[in-house]
């Protein structure tokens, strides 16, 4: 199978998956007892206003008709309007997604670098105190709840050490004096691109704690996966041969062994990216980080079903695409992997 045929097949499957996700989400949000029309007109609305909103939103139509309309609009790129913000859901998502992506990508980059380096080191130093300490570290990262870690980080870096801001995306004074010109929607990146240094350092400082909180889990998973893959790889004959031929240890570890051990690690990175899209919900709420998670949380709490569906479909799409990218990357790294 050629790579293009493989990609086309995977994309076709992805469409099916998204169709299934959209259908299940649609049914789930409608099964849950709630009154979307009441959400739309806001608190304290009169019964006649709610009835009018129900007609305006088409909620008085049979469920299968509503479903048909929703799916038709979805395909056309109309994801409906949020019941709360009254803006198109897709616009809302595009507004909040870059902020979350900045957090998630930096967290994953840090998690990958630290996780891989620690994983290689613990495999290399198996059974030593370094191995033990780092394994405790990784177990902690995987098992500590995000909200607890967030509070601990806030106490440590803000309350005790007075080193980092406790929450938010920027300092109000700095943001007002040095407004960031939006290019990508990611404040740190935009500040960097535009050479806005006061805003850059301020945004970067605000990014550190939520990023560390979000990085903890993937870092632990990546480290453990790297360690086990490396141990397996280092037991192979070609590594022994290479070592016997005098290949330097660093080359052996990071070039020969790691390259072969990286396939499973890459899969884990892809999965944790999708995990982070939802894992960021708690983190964003605690750190008042105005991203997709914050949007999703407030939407869920107010039963804003178009927004809930929009976020779900977006996360599912990201999950599917990242998995596809990971599979392609694995094929690139290891040509023996058949694209079938």
């Amino acid at each position: 199978m050629t790579i293009w045929a493989y990609v086309v097949r995977r994309i076709a499957l992805a469409v099916l998956v998204l169709f299934g996700v959209a259908t299940i989400t649609f049914l789930m949000v409608r099964i849950v007892p709630s009154d979307p029309a009441a959400v739309y007109v806001g608190s304290n609305a009169r019964p006649e206003q709610i009835a009018q909103a129900r007609r305006d939103l088409g909620l008085d139509k049979p469920l299968y008709v509503q479903y048909g309309i929703y799916m038709k609009n979805l395909v056309k790129g109309d994801w409906g309007d949020s019941l709360r913000t009254k803006r198109p859901v897709l616009n809302d998502i595009m507004h909040f997604l870059p902020t979350s992506l900045e957090l998630i990508i930096t967290a994953l980059v840090v998690a990958t670098i630290v996780g891989v380096i620690f994983g290689v080191t613990t495999a290399h130093r198996k059974g030593t105190w370094i191995d033990l300490v780092m394994r405790v570290f990784s177990t902690g990262g995987v098992s500590i709840p995000a909200f607890w870690l967030a509070l601990m980080l806030q106490i440590a870096f803000f309350r005790v050490l007075h080193l980092l801001p406790v929450a938010g995306q920027s300092d109000i004074f700095v943001a007002q004096a040095h407004p960031i010109t939006a290019i990508t929607g990611m404040p740190v990146v935009d500040a960097l691109i535009t050479g806005n240094w006061p805003a850059f350092t301020d945004s970067a400082r605000h990014l550190v704690l939520p990023m560390l909180c979000l990085a903890a889990y993937p870092m632990g998973v990546i480290m453990r996966m790297t360690r086990s893959s490396m141990l397996e790889a280092m037991g192979n004959d070609y590594i022994r041969m290479a070592r016997a031929l005098g290949v330097p240890p660093r080359t052996l570890l990071y070039k020969d062994a790691l390259k072969n051990a990286f396939g499973p690690v890459l899969t884990v990175i892809g999965l944790t990216f999708a995990y982070s899209l939802t894992g960021t919900f708690f983190v964003e709420l605690i750190f008042a980080w105005p991203g997709l998670g914050y949007y999703a949380t407030t939407s869920i709490l107010s039963m804003d079903y178009p927004a809930i569906m929009g976020v779900t479909i977006m996360v599912a799409a990201a999950y599917v695409l990242v998995n596809l990218a990971v599979d392609l990357a694995q094929a690139f790294l290891d040509p023996r992997i058949a694209l079938s």
């Binding site: 080193l163 929450a167 040095h178």
Partner: protein, 537 residues
């Protein structure tokens, strides 16, 4: 496993350490615990607020929700309702004087001259007519308040006359916290999409500079405002949307914000102990009730409802949930709000002996029945006191199953099929206008389909009393008689007990000591609102 050279391990650890230290050095030295504001705008000009309030609509005709905290600073009504204890009940806003006809069927408002909307359009009688007519026509939000107004007549450029279909206290409606805003007729060509993209066009002291939904709102002074500015008022208001009370508290303690609009009741003492912070508490029109479903047995029996009213642990609820920041309700209208009974109606006290006796009289000598209680999961106070009620009811043999639901689910269940509705519905209520009539009318009047009368209790005598009392309150000469009728109606509500009136809650906010709140910065007639012009350095 054979031991390899240790060099790669050392290199790896060193690399991580170097990168980490370098990053930390760059980031931390930029701030070191305080805001690095070198070269920034004067700090003193910016007031930083943390709110939980998001915007559900920017349309002043439709607005009826949490955005009131912004609307009240962007727009102005014809009158302002003064806080309790004021000499006069109302202050002039866009109307400088007003009078009501003897029959209460027409009200004349004389308008302030020299006022312009934010777009430069002059404010005049046409603008008043346009604003009220549009709000009525859209029939969204609090438009129902204007239902008694048959016609708005333009008498001259600065005088309007409102003709009513039945007498009402229109001054209270003109001063309401929703639906009363005057906006520019130039917006007639704008759609709801235009408004909701983050536009406004009022006469208020502040204008909206930028709006990032769920994130940040920036307001600047309206240079053409008819009021006067002083040097110690702020130039700019920046609002951060912060949903968590704990985060707001930490930001306040770090001086990252000047004002926290949400304070967890159990953190009040800790905040008050901070030498840099003031905790501000005061009267609000927020009150908690628990409706008894009078359509379900045995709550259709008035003696059972009375027994449960005696079994409510009022003081424990206030202590546990509100940290003492509340008082037991004296009926469904909070103390201080017209037409509270001012102590003339006897309220229930916690008395389990009486409760047991009443249950016995009703044919339930040892209780022996189970009730389903619902409350809104978003409300931390309700979360605290629901178990207290359960525990107290258990002492008289009544078992309570608590269902914690999201507010919309709780409300949807209450409006669903009769058999599936709750037995006990806990509700936080505040009126939409400075008139407790809204409490009585909304929560205890018959409804064609349930909305707020969640006891499903209907009584023709009560209806008659309420109608009479409301009509009498339209003119000053009828107030005394109106109060008597209202007292009778509220006595009926206590006696018939369609709900247990739990407590009137105080508002609690916290601020840095570097800012000062004027006497009218917080006014219970405008729930959750901080009037920014009353905040000074």
């Amino acid at each position: 496993m054979e031991r390899w050279s240790s060099r790669p391990g050392r290199v790896a650890i060193t690399a991580v350490l170097v990168v980490t230290v370098a990053l930390l050095a760059v980031v931390l030295t930029a701030g070191c615990g305080s805001s690095n504001t070198s070269g920034t705008a004067p700090k003193a000009d910016i007031l930083r607020l943390a709110y939980t309030s998001t915007v559900t609509t920017w349309d002043p005709s439709a607005s009826y929700s949490t955005e009131v905290v912004y609307m009240a600073n962007l727009y102005e009504p014809l009158l302002y309702a003064n806080p309790p204890g004021s000499t006069e009940p109302f202050s002039p806003a866009l109307a400088t004087s007003w009078e009501v006809a003897k029959d209460g069927l027409s009200w004349t408002f004389h308008l302030r001259q020299g006022v312009t909307f934010h777009d430069g359009t002059p404010f005049n009688a046409d603008a008043v007519k346009y604003s009220i007519d549009r709000t009525k026509k859209l029939n969204l939000g609090a438009a129902y308040l204007w239902a008694p107004v048959k016609e708005v007549q333009v008498v001259d450029p600065y005088t309007v006359k409102m003709l009513l279909t039945y007498p009402v206290a229109l001054d209270r409606i003109a001063a309401a916290s929703s639906g009363s805003w005057m906006f520019s007729p130039a917006t007639a060509v704008k759609s709801s999409k235009w408004w909701d993209a983050g536009h406004e066009d009022g006469t208020g002291p502040w204008t909206l500079q930028s709006y990032k939904p769920n994130q940040e709102l920036v307001f600047v002074r309206n240079p053409k405002w008819w009021g006067t500015w002083s040097d110690n008022q702020y130039q700019k208001i920046v609002v951060e949307i912060v949903a968590e009370a704990g985060t707001q508290q930490q930001e306040l303690e770090a001086s990252q914000i000047d004002y926290a609009g949400l304070v967890a009741r159990d953190q009040v003492d800790a905040l008050a102990a901070n030498p840099n912070i003031d905790v501000v508490k005061g009267q609000s029109w927020n009150s908690y009730l628990m409706f008894f479903n009078t359509q379900h047995k045995p709550l259709d029996n008035v003696k059972v409802r009375q027994a449960l009213s005696y079994a409510v642990p009022y003081q424990d609820i206030i202590t546990v949930a509100a940290n003492g920041l509340g008082t037991q309700s004296k009926g469904p209208v909070p103390v201080g709000l017209w037409p509270n009974t001012q102590g003339t109606v006897t309220q229930y006290t916690t008395d389990l002996t009486k409760a047991k006796q009443l249950l016995s009289d009703a044919g339930y000598p040892n209780g022996g029945f189970t009730l389903n209680l619902t409350y809104a999961a978003e409300n931390t106070l309700e979360n605290s006191f629901a178990p207290v009620i359960k525990e107290s009811f258990a002492k008289i043999g009544v078992k309570v199953n608590i269902q914690k639901l999201l507010w919309n689910q709780q409300w949807a269940k209450a409006k669903g099929p009769i058999a599936q509705r709750q037995d006990l519905f806990v509700l936080l209520w505040w009126p939409s206008l400075p008139d407790g009539y809204d409490n009585l009318n909304s929560m205890f009047r018959p409804e064609t389909s349930p909305a707020w009368n969640l006891a499903y209790w209907y009584n023709t005598d009560f209806d008659k009393l309420l109608t009479e009392a409301y009509g009498l309150s339209a003119v000053p000469s009828g107030l005394e008689q109106s109060q008597q009728k209202y007292n009778e109606a509220q006595a009926m509500l206590v006696d018939q007990a369609p709900a247990a009136y739990l407590f009137d809650a105080q508002f609690v906010v916290a601020k840095l000591k570097t800012i000062a709140l004027g006497t009218e910065a917080i006014n219970p007639n405008y729930p959750q609102v901080l009037f920014w012009t009353k905040v000074t350095r």
